[in-house]
Subunit: 312 residues, 2 copies
């Protein structure tokens, strides 16, 4: 029988699902691997992986018979794919099942930011509505110009939703794609100069590190809003913080950050940032679907059939 | 020249627009009318009205030559239309220009409610993300069943947006309407029984008072969310508060209340309610468009041409 290891902070229902299917060994983080008996490590063939802590060649070498890393999540940037390839280890992820949820959070955060809904709620709850009158006027959301950075499956879901808000859709991708009548920009600086809202929906990993660069951020106007539901790594975070602090851009709405959950505390001092704790895919329904897809990939390894959603 | 009176809490830019066009007398509320000199009152032919304080026959009788009440807002339920009719006073409002904004707030509030975005933001900002891990899983938004009560212009804008979130659209209206493939319910109780989210987009006034009745609320399930962007009067507020307090429904997202801004304090004790301070149309762009439409109706009276957006 294929011996399975599970690494990460799983929910109770995910733990129950993994136990019923594989009765795996559970570890909190990759660092805990070193504490596992060598003979046990040598028996592991499948790894159910969850989390954002790096899993590289050194960790893989502690599991000499490993055949599959089944990642929980669409983003597998924590896993060193070249290192996996070099060792003949397959990697799978859980795409598509979370697209709707992540797109919903992107639109929700942008609405909260533009219409100042958190501040307006505080205005009502603190009694200022009674003493100070109406909450201050803010800014029209519908009809704006949205720029999607990365028109993959999630980017497209976001664009479809924003189009229903009568927005002009612009996008950057490596090549022009088939779209309703959206405007393609081959250069992210050009995209940034054309839009009110820049929504980052790139894959993570080294290829996209700081893709939203200081130069891209400088091309945004003083009323522009950055939305990020991808990975903290895709934006030059220092440049974004400076632009937010100096009023060079209007605001941000962020579900992802560098060094989560120990994010840069400068974000907490900014009134013009909507912060979410990386909860894009955090619904009961979607996490169940992600857990099922992770298990199905491990089942496929065991049965010797093709992985459902292979990465490499 | 037509003498104009302006009643209400106008913004600085609206005041400037009214001054430039009509140099009106400004009053804060209808109650201030009694303090105005009788000869001045007798000269007033046009009233630029803003606010939610009742303006009825008694107030109209203080303006014996009044020909037009140009309301700022689409909802004119503060104005007694039969009393205006009896006195030959025309009433205009400012429809359509605010539809997008109000629909945006409806969708934003519903997203915040379902994805618990305020609580998740607090989780991150309070440091619990660091000490307690991920924010708790919440509930998938896209793909839900939305029920629109009142498929007028605003209701339709809301439905179009929610359709882009892959929702099944159900609606109540006095008669079946032409729609993409939305489900008509002739009875609001039937509608409530069929949906996850009940969004109230009725006109205000006596005809729709407590239209969302105790019986309609009882037909909703324990996970159902009520959204109201219409008027506080359209819902049986006591029945809604009881249902929220007793867990008979899942939550609410409300931009409007009875007795604004002195709303029932029981709302503040409910963790499952998103509160907005009646800011549906509160954007700079839309308020400018509303003010311009209000002025254009007064100009039409002065020129003797047809009102742009007459009510009666």
């Amino acid at each position: 029988m294929t011996q399975t290891l599970a690494i990460g902070a799983y929910s109770e229902s995910d733990i129950a699902g993994l136990k019923a299917a594989f009765d795996p060994i559970f570890l909190d983080t990759p660092a805990d691997l070193a504490g596992v008996d060598a003979s046990k490590r040598a028996s592991i063939q499948a790894l159910a992986f969850k989390g954002h802590t790096a899993f590289g060649g050194a960790e893989m070498d502690l599991l000499p018979d490993l055949k599959l890393i089944a990642n929980y999540g669409v983003g597998y940037d924590a896993i060193d794919i070249p290192a996996a390839n070099a060792r003949g280890i397959k990697v799978s992820n859980t795409p598509d099942v979370l697209n709707d949820d992540v797109a919903d959070i992107a639109v929700g955060m942008l609405l909260m930011q533009v219409r100042e809904m958190t501040q307006a709620a505080d205005w009502a709850r603190s009694g200022q509505w009674k003493t100070g009158g109406e909450y201050r006027l803010n800014r029209k959301f519908s009809g704006g110009r949205a720029g999607i950075v990365g028109l993959g499956r999630i980017g497209r879901e976001i664009a479809n939703r924003l189009a229903a808000f009568k927005m002009d859709i612009h996008y950057y991708a490596r090549s022009e794609k088939e779209t309703p009548n959206w405007t393609y920009h081959a250069d992210p600086v050009s995209l940034a100069g054309a839009v009110d809202y820049l929504i980052v929906a790139l894959v993570g990993g080294p290829d996209t590190a700081k893709f939203v660069s200081r130069e891209v951020i400088a091309a945004l106007g003083p009323r522009a809003i950055i939305v990020n539901i991808s990975r903290g790594s895709t934006i030059d975070e220092d440049a974004m913080l400076e632009a937010l602090e100096d009023g060079k851009i209007g605001g941000a709405a962020l579900d992802v950050f560098l060094n989560e959950p120990n994010i840069n505390p400068r974000f907490y001092d900014l009134p013009n940032v909507v912060i979410q704790p990386h909860q894009g895919s955090g619904t009961v329904e979607t996490r169940e679907a992600m857990a099922a897809l992770q298990r199905d990939n491990i089942h496929a390894l065991m049965k010797g059939t093709a992985l459902i959603t292979p990465v490499n």
